[in-house]
């Protein structure tokens, strides 16, 4: 019975995917999101090839071309020490995406198992885990991130760890809620009836059903992580110079607004477009995978 129901499920799933794709195609915004994300990923991967002045991502100053407005030679203009903002923006994509992926990986690595454990095993464990999650949620994420960033040398690694610390409870909450819901569903009951172990059930039955909401949340969260990094940079706790990071670039350029508008605006636009791309794509996934979970605020 169990095998039969699973094949049924997978064929239903394929059918759903096919229908989802049709839905996705009908929504031009999701396609836009997909294209943006693809472009940013490409920019990140091929930054050394695409950047007209790749050396500007490293150490060095060019006082002979400080604050040149956007032109063909410098698409986004140059910054306060004469570096090409376009080149730095391309390298910045590497950093933002890398940062986002690592934070989410750590956040999910801690958050999902804890959520599963809480959702599937008894009340005591659940209370302990969920109340701990509450503690971490109750600390303003930036205070937590700042404290961790301040506690170690302010390197990129610390920033990442710091942000992950405030991220995992969101995944725990999501997984916990979903797991509770799914647990009530019949197929879990049935496999349990057949004597499947708790771990097996969690792994084979609950986890697959969690994939959709997790994908949606992860996509949307990429945007939030990028924003969070920008906020930390604003306080001078982001990447150390000369590493090109979007948030740091805005922070460094803001005092020259509005006259030298390009130094802060260009990296700002990069963030705007990228975060928008991830959000549109996330919404697209949500429609595609038919997720109705409350993803929550990240």
């Amino acid at each position: 019975m169990s095998t039969a129901s699973r094949t049924d499920l997978s064929s239903v799933r394929n059918e759903e995917l096919r229908r989802g794709w049709t839905r996705l195609k009908r929504s031009p915004l999701s396609i836009v999101g997909l294209v943006i994300v693809a472009l940013v990923v490409l920019a990140a991967v091929f930054a050394p090839v695409l950047a007209p002045y790749p050396q500007d991502a490293g150490p060095g100053v060019h006082f002979d071309r400080v604050h040149k407005p956007p032109s063909l030679a410098h698409l986004f203009g140059t910054d306060d020490v004469g570096r090409d903002i376009f080149s730095r923006s391309l390298f910045g994509a590497r950093l933002s995406l890398g940062l986002g992926m690592i934070v989410l990986a750590i956040g999910m690595g801690i958050g999902i198992p804890l959520g599963l454990i809480a959702g599937y095993w008894g009340r005591g464990v659940a209370t302990l885990i969920m109340r701990t999650a509450d503690i971490f949620l109750a600390i303003p994420s930036l205070v937590l991130a700042l404290a961790v960033a301040a506690a170690f040398k302010p390197t990129l690694t610390t920033t990442m760890i710091a942000i992950s610390f405030s991220w995992w409870p969101w995944f725990t909450r999501l997984v916990y809620g979903e797991a509770l819901r799914i647990k009530e569903n019949q197929f879990v009951e049935s496999s349990r009836g057949l004597g499947a172990s708790s771990w097996r059930t969690a792994y084979h039955e609950i986890l697959p059903n969690l994939i959709s909401p997790i994908i949606v949340k992860a996509t949307l969260d990429m945007g939030f992580v990028i924003m969070m990094d920008a906020s930390l940079s604003f306080l001078g706790l982001g990447a150390q110079p000369p590493t090109p990071a979007w948030g740091t670039m805005i922070a460094e350029g803001r005092q020259y607004l509005p006259t030298i508008w390009w130094q802060a605006t260009m990296p700002g636009l990069m963030i705007l477009v990228t975060v928008m791309g991830f959000n549109l794509l996330g919404d697209g996934f949500r429609d595609l995978l038919d997720v109705h979970a409350d993803i929550g605020e990240g």
Binding site: P28, I139, P140, L142, A150, L257, A264, I271, M276
Partner: protein, 333 residues
């Protein structure tokens, strides 16, 4: 309801708050940085530093410092702030209302605009209205907040001279709650009301945008889900006017789920309002807290975190209560 729902919930808050206080207390003290040296100035002698550390009890072992802190807490003292040179509780009494007012105003905007937009986008899914609202709202999420704040300031204060760029207004009402808008309404002080309102507009809008988009998005997907429900399909088939269906059934059901997000958002904004506060020189608690972290003013860090933590937990409780009040089917268990 009190005994089965409220009491356990409130009791559960106690270990959470205790855990929170321990975590943040130790975190704030092991952070590097020397606030004593900072407070005494770069030329301070070692003797000065030693004496001040002793006065503040910083030469005691950490667990002892914690127990002293908790003792102080019971009498309403949150410890001495090295940055502002007075008790943290006084600082918080000054700055909390400002942040609260800002966050409330931002919530009003986020809900007042986000829910209607979400409804429109939801019932006109994949039509141009949907696309437009989504792009505009997502623009709000995707714009770095401090950057947006600076741009709004340039536009409305510097170019058009319409609104003040900083502060809470020139005319202050008589203090009752510390929320200037509310106080000026209560005292019937019209000039103070307009002055406060004009000052809060830019920061509140800046702060609200990300949550606005969040709320819009959630309302939209809830509306979409509702559209597919049997009763809607049936009523449509029976020829019940569309507007009535939307207003009467769908919105009501959709709003319930949105409420949870609103609650979470409130706590989130409270802690993350600092960038907006810094840009608009809003004398609030969020920027106070961040300055404290940067200056390693540990008592202030603990104080701010505890206030935000309590508010966060209370809001969640309140949301659950309203949720149940709206939907009596939910059992408090």
């Amino acid at each position: 309801m009190f005994r089965t729902f409220l009491l356990p919930r409130v009791l559960q808050m106690i270990p959470v708050l205790l855990g929170l206080s321990i975590l943040i207390f130790f975190l704030s003290r092991i952070m590097p940085g020397d606030p004593v040296r900072l407070a005494l100035g770069p030329e301070a002698t070692q003797e000065q530093i030693t004496q001040y550390r002793h006065e503040l009890g910083l030469d005691l072992p950490l667990p002892q410092q914690y127990s002293q802190y908790m003792k102080g807490l019971l009498t309403g003292h949150l410890g001495h702030s090295l940055r502002t040179n007075r008790d943290v509780s006084q600082d918080l009494a000054d700055s909390f209302p400002a942040t609260l007012e800002l966050v409330l105003a931002a919530m009003v905007i986020a809900v007042g605009v986000g829910v209607p937009l979400g409804v429109v986008a939801g019932i006109r899914k994949d039509k141009w209205e949907d696309q437009l609202t989504r792009v505009v709202a997502l623009g709000g999420i995707a714009m770095p907040r401090f950057w947006l704040g600076i741009l709004l300031q340039l536009l409305f204060a510097s170019v058009f001279h319409l609104l003040p760029a900083i502060g809470r207004g020139d005319i202050h009402p008589t203090q009752i709650t510390g929320l200037y808008l509310l106080d000026s309404l209560l005292t019937g002080d019209t000039p103070a009301f307009w002055s406060s309102l004009k000052s809060i507009l830019l920061p509140a809008i800046t702060l609200s945008l990300a949550s606005l988009a969040q709320i819009m998005r959630l309302t939209r997907s809830n509306m979409i889900e509702e559209t597919r429900r049997d009763y809607i399909l049936a009523s449509t088939a029976y020829g019940v006017p569309r507007l009535l269906i939307v207003a009467k059934y769908m919105l009501k059901n959709a709003f319930g789920t949105t409420l949870t997000t609103i609650g979470l958002t409130f706590g989130y904004l409270l802690g993350n309002a600092f960038l907006v506060e810094v840009v608009f020189a809003w004398p609030g608690m969020a920027s106070y807290g961040v300055e404290a972290v940067i200056g390693k003013d540990f008592n202030a860090v603990v104080g701010v975190t505890m206030v935000i933590g309590v508010t966060f937990l209370l809001t969640n409780l309140l949301v659950d209560l309203i949720y149940g009040w709206l939907d009596p089917r939910i059992k408090y268990s």
